[in-house]
Amino acid sequence: MLLIQTVYGQKSLLALDEHDKYIYYQVVSQPGASADSLDKKALGFVKESLPKSSVKTTGDTTIILKDRFVTYSVLAFAKHESGEIKFTLTIECKNDKYRYWLTDFVFIPYEKNRYGVFVPSNGVEIPIEKSSSHVDKKEAEGYLDQTGAFCKQLGDQLKSYMLADHPTNKKTEQQPVVKKVVTDKW
């Protein structure tokens, strides 16, 4: 139930941009942090948390990447992948602050193949702004809720990562202490 409550209503986290596309946009202040350090941390976050994304960096402090997340439908005990949502994440850094936004959400429904595995439906891609014209209203709202929840989750993880220290030098591993005894002298 907690999980369901977390997802419901998350659509309100999304806004519409000047192109009438859904967007999740946040500006975060981090006083004392240089643009360069923030950019390095952002790259580190992308490598650790979104390893399969296709990353493009433009300029010195802008990261653009494309990735996707899987959506699940839940029915009592039964749970399976219902589709995936592609998105574009942009992170820009300046001294003392950074901003990020997720947009270009596209839903790809899954279907079960002959081998019992859910796979993307061939050639079906639905911009999330148009999902209500392809699926019923409740399902479309469900996708928006999931998108909002995912954006918040990703954003919270990014914020935590940006606040934390990430030393570049590896600590030398401490060898475990093994007690030794000399049994021939006592």
Partner: protein, 356 residues
Amino acid sequence: MKKVLLLLSLFIIAILSANAATMPVDTGKVGTGADPKDPPLIFSGSVDTYWKYDFSGHGNIPTSFASDQNSVSIGMVDLGVKKKVGKAAFVGELSFGPRSDQSIPTSGYHIQNLYVSYDVTDKFNLSAGYMSTFIGYEVISPTGNFNYSTSYLFTNGPFQNAGFKATYAFSDKVSLMAGIFNNYWNTYTSFRTVGNTTTSGDVSTFGAQLTVTPAKGWTAYLNVATGSYSGTEFDLTTAYQITDAFKLGLNAATFSAPNSGGGFDGVALYPQLAVSKVVTLGLRGEYFEYKSVGTTPSSNVTGLTATANIKAGAITLIPEIRFDNKSSAFPIGFVDSNGASTNSATQFLIAAVYAF
């Protein structure tokens, strides 16, 4: 007949009125792409039921499943479970019911898929076990087909191939599968018959599948399965989502039985048009021919099937009408309302499939 139609009407009204709301959904883990770091155990399945009426009053058209005449009948309960952790995965799929019994090679067994899989690399996968066949357009599960009745190509081709296969993706547009499978199709274990004795078997069917994606929304599979026990089938299966609303599918195959034992050729076309969010209309036009063997001449049948898929949440209602016309030499007979032999048959059916 009138009572049946009345009951069906009430059933249809109930289905269309059902508030089959989209169930609450769950987010995938962050950073997962299409491969969650911590994926859940996946459950899925379906149940289906149907009523079919052949206008002759007799049970004609002997393609697979939905074989009962003028009866509210059941298909099957299908239950699947899948889990992937890291590079390793398994799939187990069970089924129960008449459709299951007609699709499973051994009475009392209920396994549709049971296999393990390992991603050696992102591009190279190995799988082994009992798996639904890679050949053909239609499948056993009613959720995998647009039409509820099945084609002659499906009925006469393999249902399952148990074996070991390797798949390599050269790019996101081209991949190749090659494998070795049990000597016979549709068997849980391989076997050989020597005289009246069944002895140990033989893993001697070779199979391969070339998958190409020439354009977005268009995928084609070139398949071959060949072995001294199972014969040789070449198959082309392709589907193209030409527009958001229109999809065109094609299946063509030729099969040669071992020891010059005949075989078949066939082609089927599957145009589908989504006329609204909930209604898709489709046709299946099929030409199927048994090859001549010995003194038995070739024979053929053509089938035209018109089907609608009407979605109400998790339920799909499938009304369908089918016209088959065969040559006189076709080995399976049709009968008319008087019980006399005829070359044509017409059937109407309505089915409901619940997928979860």
